[in-house]
Symmetry: C2
Subunit: 258 residues, 2 copies
């Protein structure tokens, strides 16, 4: 492996409010420059899903959504806005679990998550403008790759990009940061077959590497009024090939909790 | 909140092989001293479960285990050593899922995890000495609190302690670090009721804070031959009261995936 003895994480200061059509790579390079930071090969930039979605214009006006009968019935069961439920269903392959205030689905991209990632917090452009919702990026791995290649072109540096979001999980309380899009960096580290320090072959040895980075960055991003949507991670040295975020999705046939 | 703009993580160098009866607080203070590091109030030390278990003498000789008929039948189904399965069952409240090579249980402490955390890698004292297994600490929150108070007494500093382990999870590939014991630090951050930046009240806003720290530290610990079982995390500023690791366990009544 792969790991290092020191790791630093820094949130880019004063990241601006992102609008549809903004070029995130340009914004990131500007903020890095203003802060006097220079990218190095092997740096990882973790970018909050929310700003990627905003830049890609994934904001939806709920007033334009006409809920189906199915969405209306489901909305009653989960005590949510039927237009929001319609939007969630339109982003989903199937409903996994429901309860009051809980709607867990399989997103069309394969993520098992609450509300298909459709979010209403920190979405409005101004206070009182509350009828908006924000969808996940169309293809977060592709978004990460675009950002990676654009930053590589502007900086001359080879950096990893991880787009993160906060997911709840079964059995444990609270959300944690997870990687929904990855480019230029290993999403998983497969240590199977490597010996432990006593020569025994390691057994459970696939590590959700990009999810651990996503969680670490989430510690700095904050969840409420402070906007710190981009975190620079320095000091990782993965000895594994890059893989995309889909590598973190367990195939249905291997999943015991469907 | 609560978060900060910069975070550093450093693995304590040259941490020795831990033996039953070792005083981990003394070992940690010695390593900090040798490295020339001084603890500060608000630092968090993340300690790998494995060294806590070793210090507490939680190593078990499989040769002394006589498997029950139930363990023998289950061992056949999951293709594991029946003595190991007996040990796993003795640490568990119930079996949650089984498949070939997979035995997921509810640990007696409430963790839903593979093999009740019973581990055979990096446990032997010497190569070839393969009949040993390592159990979780008897009470990881109590272990964390003992370590916290002993380090506070020796250093005069108020630090948080998180004992971490690597857990698999449903739906996603790979293990991630999670907190199984917490002392002197908030395990969760409850942001419910706080406004987002546009004045909307945040909805899904309980953060698995100690799990995110545990995952971040796991990036440095390595999984194979390199032993870096203690990571110093500096720069967190949680605005929440301390809670123990049990705060991260979702009550059965609220869990949709039992």
């Amino acid at each position: 492996m792969s790991s290092t003895a020191d790791l630093s994480l820094s949130a880019l200061p004063e990241f601006p409010e992102v609008q549809a059509g903004d070029d995130l790579a340009v914004l990131v390079m500007e903020r890095l420059g203003s802060a006097g930071w220079t990218l190095r090969d092997g740096d990882v930039l973790v970018v909050a899903q929310k700003v990627v979605s905003k830049a890609e214009g994934r904001r939806v006006d709920l007033a334009e959504i006409v809920p189906s009968a199915r969405a209306i019935a489901l909305a009653e069961r989960v005590a949510k806005d039927a237009r929001l439920v319609e939007l969630i269903l339109s982003e989903s392959r199937r409903v996994v679990r429901t309860a009051r205030d809980v709607l867990i689905v399989e997103h069309r991209l394969g993520f098992i998550m609450a509300n298909a990632g459709v979010d209403q917090s920190n979405v409005a452009s101004r206070k009182g403008d509350e009828n908006w919702a924000l969808l996940l990026p169309e293809n977060p791995d592709a978004s990460a790759e675009r950002l990676r290649s654009s930053i590589a072109a502007q900086s001359g540096r080879s950096v990893g990009i991880i787009i993160n979001d906060s997911f709840g999980r079964p059995w444990r309380v609270g959300t944690v940061g997870v990687a929904i899009g990855v480019a230029g960096w290993p999403a998983i580290l497969d240590l199977r077959g490597q010996p432990d320090r006593f020569g025994r072959t390691l057994r459970v040895t696939v590590v959700g590497h990009a999810d651990e980075i996503a969680a670490a960055a989430s510690l700095l991003m904050g969840q409420s009024s402070e906007g710190r949507p981009v975190v620079l991670v320095r000091g990782l040295m993965p000895a594994a090939p890059p893989s995309d975020g889909k590598a973190l999705l367990r195939p249905a046939a291997e999943d015991l909790f469907r």
